[in-house]
Amino acid sequence: MIKDRKRFAALCLATPVLALQLACQTPTPNVEPYLPRLNSTADTVAGMSKTELDNLQLVSTNLVSALLQLPETNPSTITLQVSTPGTAFGNLIVRALEEAGYSLQHVSADQGMNYVRYSKRHSETEAGFVVDYNLSIGMIKLRREYITNESGIFPSSLMSIVGSQSAAEVILDDNIFIEQGGNDLFISGVKNAQSEIKTLQVRDYNLTPDNKRTTQEIVLGNARNQQLGKAAANINSNDYTRMRRTVLIFDNRTTSVMGRGNKRAISLLAREHQPNDVYSITACTDADGEDESAHARAVRVQEEFMAYKIPAEAIVFAPCIRASFRHTSDESPVPVTIEQLRFNY
């Protein structure tokens, strides 16, 4: 009896710990990173595994990164209308749009010129079971088929982009699929585009640990910078008269925060904007003439001008001027020079 009591006492102590352990053996993923910050519907992802959610995140990232590169759907100039998502894919698409920096207006039905529609369809094809995912905004329609296997999800078609004049210039960051590892081939590129269509090989050794994979934030950030940087025009300086010049100071070489003073200076320049004015931005003053963070600062300035409805084409990125050498660890403030140029009629 005493022995029984001892056993029972031990059992009492062990039970809550074991119960907790059992509960954790069926892990429920933290769904927060997959859901929109506003008006999410967590019940649509309840019961889904992390792998299923990651697959949907790859697809939504892939589609939204292409959308970001189209001038018609530039986040600096467009507001999208979304309704409360009713599916897991819907939640992940809206989250990706949030992460991409789109202004989202939450509507009760399908109000608005730029209402976001999406769908996921299962198809039985000669290549097996595929799922095609669609995303459309106004006249712009993106579609791509994906196939799921034991390694993850992979594209099984080119991306189709309809309704944009610039579909050919979209560069897909399909390396995010390779990081899943496996032993497969998949096709990468945009349908009917002049850009190169490639077959990408996936190997077991490509398998990348979760914490080392390219994040959604990075993919979307790259796509955004690519679109903005590309929009900058080249001009013949003889056609223009220099009007105004200012030097913005960023706190350090890595920050994108402009601060109120710099923002006010841009608003004053934008106030005097005339059609056909262009702004030449010199963000790079490194002696070696190459600087990614300087490009990011130039893009940041371009974005600010675009917030005042000044077209991306009105921004010119001036080449690096070899004014100084900065060590990579140098965190001192950095200048960005802006010159306003007016077209000589």
Binding site: C12, A19, E32, P75, S103, G259, A265, L268, A307
Partner: protein, 349 residues
């Protein structure tokens, strides 16, 4: 481990089995309870900030049109950001998450509390600021002061705010006061003029006579209108109609505005429409002066004094074009010798 648990259960009596089963169930529930407690925003007991922020934001549609405007939120999401985004989305604004401080309507909210327990909520959206004080009465938050608006002259009806009904007949809390926006730390970068005529003029001018340009209150380089009658802002005002003009005469060698000057500004502002108007301020000092700052300093100082007054009365910075005119000799009829000309320029569209 699971096997050991099963063996222990088997060896214990049936009564003990029942108790152990209950403990097991409690273990499961307690293991899961923390996830159920989280709400959508991840914020629990947001507290009094909710009603203060909601009250301040409830007047925003009277100042910035929802449905056609977006509000930008930075990457650092705090309690006030979450409450604001939820409310603004409900009001019909586009919500844009940005990676830094991008956008014309970038959102910031601050809450302060003084030693008397009066709390202040300040919301900045771009160059617009809305501030209000609140007190707690019987556990309920009530407005304790007027709405303070900066960066706008737009009229709002405070009784339409969320807590408007709790104000009662309190004349102060029912009021709207206009003020200037908080100073910019580090200032605004100077914006220089680069026109060839200016550069050429500077070379020719050398050190003789008054300068051709100066820096105004917004750190924008402007031309001396003694030489350039059209002024720096000609392309902003040429297609506008002058609907009112006030000339404020300052005493000799003075920058004191005086009561009469303030009244004249108020008179002009009664006609000001934020959507269509720009205010061109031309500070003048022409003729002899004994002051060391010279005519340029006086002209600029006078224009700055008027600009400061306009900003204090809520006129947005973007609506003010401050210019100057100075010379050691008197000009003709265009500008007064020691005053400021304020023109209200209205867009025809």
């Amino acid at each position: 481990m699971t096997k050991t648990l099963a063996a222990s259960l088997h060896s214990a009596g049936s009564q003990h089995k029942a108790i152990a089963a209950v403990l097991l169930l409690i273990g499961f529930i307690s293991g899961c309870v923390s996830t159920e407690a989280k709400n959508e925003s991840g914020i629990v007991n947001a507290g009094t900030s909710d009603s203060m922020l909601e009250d301040v934001l409830s007047v925003l549609p009277q100042l910035i049109e929802p449905r056609i405007n977006s509000i930008q939120f930075g990457p650092k999401v705090d309690e006030l950001d979450v409450i604001a985004a939820r409310n603004l989305a409900k009001a019909g604004y586009g919500i844009q998450r940005v990676s830094a401080d991008q956008g014309v309507n970038f959102f910031r909210a601050d809450k302060f509390e003084n030693e008397d327990g009066i709390q202040t909520m300040r919301v900045s959206i771009g160059e617009l600021e809305i501030t209000r004080e609140y007190a707690t009465e019987g556990g309920i938050i009530v407005p304790a002061g007027p709405f303070e608006l900066a960066g706008t002259r737009a009229q709002i009806d405070p009784s339409e705010s969320m807590l408007g009904s709790k104000v009662g007949n309190d004349a102060i809390a029912n009021n709207v006061e206009y003020t200037s926006i908080a100073p910019i730390e580090g200032g605004i970068p100077t914006i220089s003029l680069l026109s060839e005529d200016i550069i050429q003029g500077v070379v020719n001018q050398a050190t003789q006579g008054p300068r051709l340009t100066t820096i105004n209150s917004t750190k924008l380089e402007v031309k001396n209108r003694f030489y350039d009658v059209d002024g720096t802002f000609a392309n902003l005002i040429n297609d506008r109609e002058r609907v009112a003009r006030e000339v404020i005469i300052f005493p000799n060698d003075s920058m004191r505005l005086g009561e009469e000057g303030k009244q004249r500004i108020n008179k002009l502002l009664n006609q000001f429409s934020e959507a269509s108007d720009l205010i061109n301020v031309i500070g003048c000092s022409n003729g002899a002066t004994k002051l060391a700052i010279g005519n340029e300093g006086l002209a600029l100082g006078r224009a700055n004094r008027i600009t400061e007054e306009l900003l204090t009365l809520g006129v947005p910075n973007r609506s003010i074009l401050d210019d100057a005119c100075w010379s050691p000799k008197s000009t003709g009829v265009d500008f007064p010798s020691r005053g400021v000309v304020i023109d209200l320029m209205r867009s025809e569209s």
